[in-house]
Symmetry: C2
Subunit: 480 residues, 2 copies
């Protein structure tokens, strides 16, 4: 059985040797996604999609608590609409897919498959809005979008991805800005409490802002290899769209005014974040709260009298409180199954055989630290709750510890490069605010500004790049 | 206040005078959907989308009980894939939208926006399937599809619509056929128990089958004006796709065999069915189980001391069990609000004013029959349950009564035409099974075969059209 195990693990590339290949191995072997006949397009398989469903359920509930309602907008956007906001079209036009033929005929105006839907929401808001009494509109859609990326990677950068895009308009600038930040907090909640990944919250530098935004806020995360991943963004548009799209209302003084707008999104990219933040050489490692299967029961000596029956009984009891799978596949040994479920990242495995049954106990094996715990069967259902919560917390703490270890301070570019090459991770520096310095840093280090963190620390007073006076602390990192 | 009411109702076209215009009025005024900048594409507004969410939740739970798992497939399908099954491409190619440019470059092969996804599921099944042990695959996706219809109508026939498409493959023909029918039963459950619309279950005649199917089963419904609406279909493909797509497995005897396939779908068309099956001259009428708002509280003499507070208290109590809205809009009179919520189809309205509060009671008004019921406030939460269940049952019964009244038997074509012109509705006849008779009937009457009902009755032994021996009873009707 041991050779069985070893062969199995061997099929996965070592995580320290080739992280990119390790990632692809996990995506395919854990059956999260697969490549399709269309270049750059993936299919999300049931196990991956169930993770997305859990994210959707959690986030959607939070959105609704904030008064957000769901809606469906057309998937196609006329070219003339996309062009109404200058920065926006410049940002997105190069990477869209165009529908030019419909129902056998060349279209008079070509239609793009939405890369994002600010423009189409804006036309409808313009049509619907009359009075301040109508405001705010807080709408969201769960849908697919297309961006014709040159290099693609499952979940992280696909030509099609699933996401939610929230679009709101408000009576005042303050209300809109506040809502932008409220939604950022929802994202932080999803990522920290559901996905067990700590986030760094802050504002994007102007060059990293969304095309057409007045301000972009972000939640950044750090992966196993020390690279950063932008996990969710929330944008404040001011009146940048409401003016060209004529979204105005009669205000409380009876005067016409343009509304204030926001948009915000998280996507199936988060599945990539979960893989890369938690995984190890045994494979995927899923936080219990988002895991499609929280507990897998593997009977040992399955053909001995009463074993399968006891395992089934256990499954029925535990299914009342947990998402449980019972593995009675005939063609595999228990050892194979142990490895298989570890590779698939199931947080807890229960092993139960004839001797366990006799002693009215079972063995609970934790995926996060591989600890084996003997548990009395009568106490199992209750104890599992503590164990799963403990795993969730432990996984968060492990990530937080890594982020702390991989965060350094640099006072000059030499230190910057040295830190990055040793550690990857986040590099904190002071920054003068100039685009030139940002570009130079990117050229020299390969790192981009992640954000200007909300929690500013005074780590110096000179720009890491040009040495001129600087009052902003920025966090940088190489990114996915 | 009465003139208020009348003007309000006047804005909606009379349902008996112009049903099509009445329908559009309801869709727009109840804010279920709206037209967009793209011809034939609608936006589903929050109130309409919330109906869809309730349908999704109910159906998705049932699918999962039958072992179905969700998945996401690419929205674009290469032309070569679409062409692999002859009947399928003939059926769909004329009405697809083609993406010809992506990322600024002309594509080597054009990609259609999926009109349905048999082809893309089939390529993946071919890739994944090895052994009989892998079977069945029971996958479903909730997504958008495009069909470039010439004439469009919100929900009923849009160029884009939302739906679920289930695609399964099985080890044996029997298992696949059984599953096709199992899913048809789920649809009947959704439509009858959630949407309160009785269905007619049966098999489509060969000419009405899905492009590429071996057998298509359907649940048919009858609308207010006596026209039929196909509400859901479930298809058995045999090996029609598994052969050209090479979906084979090693069977229990160790031999290669092609799998047996099904697909099945319901769509946002069901929202159209709800509108047209239940609505009346006051507007929309929603069955309580699917209504986004089940109970609306309208305070009367809202500015009298304690009224608003009592209404809020009531809202908090009732919200624990029901989906409740409290209407405290300052700019409208109670009379206006009564009509507004009736138009939006909310099943129950609660009126509460100073005298009610003094007597510790309120008035409950049913949307289905306009009955007013005085209820003691202490008993309200409990009684509402019975009232809502009674409304649900009553709405189903009303529809069933109409379907019965509008179902006739015809022994020859003269009777057929006479019945239809008087009644619209379903016409039952015997049918010889020939395509020619079906075509002739359609030409002469405008009716198409709805289905060959599972519940066959012996109403004669000669074909209604050609007079030759006939052993099948078919139900016909003019359709949406």
């Amino acid at each position: 059985m041991m050779s069985d195990n070893k062969n199995f693990v061997k099929e996965i590339t070592n995580i320290e040797e080739d992280f990119a290949k390790w990632y692809t191995d996990i995506v395919l072997k854990a059956e999260l996604a697969d490549y399709t006949a269309v270049k750059g397009f993936i299919t999300i398989r049931p196990y991956g999609y169930a993770i997305w469903e859990n994210i959707q359920k959690y986030a959607d509930e939070k959105f609704k608590e904030h008064g957000v309602q769901n809606i469906a907008m057309p998937v196609l956007i006329p070219e003339s609409l996309l062009q109404k906001e200058k920065d926006h079209v410049e940002g997105f036009a190069p990477e869209v897919a165009w529908v030019t033929i419909g129902g056998g005929e060349e279209l008079e105006e070509r239609l793009c498959v939405r890369p994002t839907s600010e423009t189409i929401f804006s036309t409808m808001y313009s049509k619907w809005l009359n009075s301040w009494r109508d405001l705010p509109y807080k709408y969201n859609q769960w849908c697919n979008v297309l961006r014709w990326e040159k290099e693609t990677r499952p979940f992280l950068r696909s030509r099609e991805f699933l996401w939610q895009e929230g679009h709101t308009i408000h009576e005042t600038a303050k209300e809109a800005e506040d809502f932008t930040l409220e939604m950022l907090e929802v994202y932080a909640d999803v990522i920290e409490n559901l996905l067990a990944i700590p986030v760094l919250k802050g504002r994007k530098t102007p060059t990293e802002q969304f095309a057409g935004a007045e301000a972009t806020y972000t939640v950044e995360t750090l992966m196993h290899d020390g690279r950063a991943l932008q996990a969710g963004t929330s944008h404040y548009f001011g009146q940048n769209f409401t003016k060209p799209f004529d979204i105005k209302f009669q205000n409380r003084e009876g005067k016409e005014e343009y509304a204030y707008q926001t948009s915000w999104g998280i996507s199936t990219r988060l599945i990539g974040a979960v893989i890369m933040a938690h995984g190890d050489n045994r494979g995927l490692k899923l936080p219990p709260r988002v895991a499609p299967i929280q507990v897998v029961i593997v009977p040992v000596a399955m053909h001995k009298e009463g074993v399968k029956e006891k395992a089934e009984e256990l499954k029925n009891i535990l299914s009342k409180k947990y998402r449980v799978e019972l593995d009675v596949r005939e063609q595999y040994s228990p050892g194979y199954k142990f490895n298989d479920w570890e590779m698939r990242g199931v947080p807890v495995r229960i092993e139960i055989g004839p001797r366990d049954i006799e002693a009215n106990k079972c063995v609970v094996v934790r995926r996060d630290n591989l600890e084996k715990i003997e548990v009395n069967l009568d106490e199992l259902s209750e104890k599992l709750n503590d164990i799963l919560e403990n795993i969730q917390a432990n996984m968060y703490n492990e990530c937080a510890k890594r982020a702390k270890e991989k965060t350094t301070i640099a006072n000059n570019l030499e230190e910057f490069i040295e830190n990055l090459n040793k550690n990857q991770g986040y590099v904190k520096t002071m920054w003068c605010g100039s685009e030139e310095c940002e570009e130079k840093i990117h050229e020299l280090t390969g790192a981009k500004s992640r954000c200007i963190p909300f929690n500013q620390e005074k780590i110096g007073d000179k720009c890491v790049c040009c040495g001129k006076p600087a009052d902003k602390m920025v966090v940088w990192g190489r990114q996915y």
